[in-house]
């Protein structure tokens, strides 16, 4: 073998390390420029070749909102059980939609980007994170419409209302991110997972107090039983209640009364505990993702 002479100036000032990234979500935030480009790419690709384009992100929720409002609110007379039902419903829907979008598009994200995953070395967490940010981007204008609607109906939020809103949003974001991370990895191995997600989304819509007020659960057949406890343990249900605390409560004629009848006790303590659990769950999801990631390139 010919002996090779190494030019010492060319030896990079870096240690020998395993190639590929291993910092997980931290790497994603370290490489924000790449993340931004991926988000732009996703935004462009989502409604590629459609005439309405970005408008679809408003048409779909608008249709869903109208349907629920007419059927649940007017025909089934929910507007008599919950004052200012439109805000009650829409505040829940905006955030539930953010959650289901994050979850669904996050789950598909790795498989959809297999061209990149198979050939380039980059933190794979980029894709579910980008999916979450894209969903957030589509949620923002809906949030503005919600704020406008709340203002028209006499919104006068106090500090606690804003705190509730931020807490509710954080729960949705962390929980959605954890599920997206876990399911995006699982979906590489079994494409069944993207179907599970769709089913799960229907379940989420009905298992949170948005198309019916929480008072019906509290005072109904499940009131005081373990079913109610389970119902409230659902992070999405808790987040929806917090968001309603933010947008809906102050638009009702007697906020004190609304808080007493339509909310559980210790709303904030529950919220903080659930957020804590969601953060732990995100850690577990990251751990599982790292375990599964090594086989992505060959299983796609």
């Amino acid at each position: 073998m010919t002996t090779h002479v190494v030019d010492p100036d060319r030896v990079p000032d870096a240690p020998l390390v395993s190639p590929g990234s291993s910092g997980g979500l931290l790497d994603v935030f370290r490489r924000r420029y790449l993340l931004r480009l991926l988000v732009q790419k996703e935004l462009k690709a989502r409604y590629q070749g459609s005439v309405l384009g970005l408008l679809w992100s408003y048409v779909k929720p608008a249709v869903r909102f109208s349907m629920y409002f007419v059927v649940m609110g007017i025909i089934l007379e929910m507007d008599k059980r919950a004052e200012n039902f439109a805000i009650h419903l829409f505040s829940g829907m905006v955030f539930v939609h953010y959650f289901t979008e994050t979850f669904a598009s996050g789950t598909r994200s790795i498989v959809k980007n297999k061209a990149l995953v198979q050939k380039m070395s980059l933190p794979r967490e980029m894709f579910p994170v980008a999916a979450m940010l894209v969903s957030a981007y589509h949620t923002l204008p809906q949030l503005l419409i919600l704020t406008g609607g709340a203002m028209l109906t006499g919104w006068s939020p106090d500090g606690l209302a804003f705190a509730a809103g931020v807490l509710g949003f954080s729960i949705i974001a962390v929980f959605g991110m954890a599920l997206a991370l876990l399911f995006s990895a699982a979906n590489v191995f079994f494409r069944d997972f993207q179907n599970i997600v769709e089913t799960f989304s229907i379940f989420v819509t009905w298992s949170v107090p948005m198309i019916y007020p929480f008072a019906l659960v509290k005072n109904g057949a499940f009131g005081g039983t373990w079913v109610e406890t389970l119902y409230l343990a659902n992070p999405i249900a808790e987040a929806v209640l917090l968001v309603q605390r933010c947008f809906w409560v102050s638009t009702t004629s007697d906020p004190e009364q609304t808080l007493a009848t339509n909310f559980p006790d210790d709303l904030f303590v529950r919220g903080l505990v659930i957020l804590g659990i969601c953060v732990v769950f995100l850690g577990i999801a990251q751990w599982a993702f790292t375990k599964l990631e090594g086989k992505f390139a060959e299983r796609l």
């Binding site: 073998m1 010919t2 090779h4 190494v6 030019d7 010492p8 100036d9 060319r10 030896v11 990079p12 870096a14 240690p15 020998l16 390390v17 395993s18 190639p19 590929g20 990234s21 490489r31 420029y33 790449l34 480009l37 991926l38 732009q40 790419k41 462009k44 690709a45 590629q48 061209a115 990149l116 995953v117 198979q118 050939k119 380039m120 070395s121 980059l122 990631e293 090594g294 086989k295 390139a297 060959e298």
Partner: protein, 258 residues
């Protein structure tokens, strides 16, 4: 402390799945058929590359070359053993290295450069050189899904060679390029080599390996069969069977790698 790539006892096993649905699995279980089969794509491979060496990785189709390259680039992780590298890695793993078909050439250049670790300013600074090298002309703002395979490869190669890297990997990218482009690539690879970067080049063409590399590795069914001087490696692979000139004849006839 001058190693650039250290590969120690690396093994990678691939599983082939015969049955994927519950129905198929049940049927297979009842009939006592084997559910899955696996093979070793890379089998206990060890070698060390010093900074600035240029390595030609050769072997027949299916001998594990691309898998080994993916292990070095970090796209895949070994089942056992370890791969370690020093510094930034750039290069091409197969043609059209991970372009997004719906994005235009311009957008893909930025995305690909960012994946290779380039900043926005760095990409802007090198943008003209990149498009000049890729010579995709007016197709720059066309989605790359409409590109010919040659243009696809040119664009990928152009981005990769302009990224600052300490290790440069090339996987048979030249196979789809036309003659002027191949010449340009080989010239550029010579420059990369002259700059003292580590070059890791996968090729079927003994001619270009002879020109580019000062050491050859030969893989045979996942096992490292040869590690040494290029001429001996080519002889080991029996690529020089029919005399020194025949390969060029075949290349000319087939339009393959030069």
């Amino acid at each position: 402390m001058t190693e650039s790539i250290v590969v120690r006892n690396v093994t990678k096993r691939f599983t082939m799945r015969y049955h994927r649905t519950i129905k198929q699995m049940t049927v297979a279980a009842v009939r006592r058929q084997q559910l899955s089969d696996s093979f070793l794509a890379v089998n206990d491979v060890s070698f060390t590359v010093e900074q600035g060496e240029s390595i030609g990785l050769m072997g027949l189709n299916g001998s594990g070359k691309s898998t080994l390259l993916k292990l070095i680039s970090g796209v895949m992780k070994p089942d056992s053993g370890s791969v370690q590298t020093r510094g930034r890695i750039a290069g091409l793993i197969a043609t059209g290295a991970g372009f997004h078909p719906q994005l235009t050439g311009r957008e893909n250049i930025y995305l690909n450069a960012a994946i290779l670790g380039m900043s926005e300013a760095e990409t802007k600074r090198k943008f003209d050189q990149i498009i000049d090298f890729a010579s995709v002309g007016k197709f720059l703002d066309t989605p790359v899904g409409h590109y010919s395979s040659g243009m696809f490869a040119r664009l990928g190669f152009a981005v990769a060679v302009h990224a600052d890297s300490d290790i440069f990997l090339v996987d048979e990218v030249l196979a789809v390029g036309d003659r002027p482009f191949k010449k340009k690539c080989l010239q550029r690879m010579q420059e990369v080599k002259a700059e003292g970067r580590t070059l890791f080049y996968v090729s079927h063409s003994p001619g270009s390996v002879r020109k580019m590399c000062d050491r050859a590795l030969v893989l045979e069914n996942g096992v490292l069969g040869f590690d040494g001087p290029v001429a001996d490696g080519i002889h080991y692979l029996k690529y020089d069977d029919d005399g020194p000139n025949s390969e060029d004849d075949i290349d000319d006839q087939m339009g393959a790698d030069i």
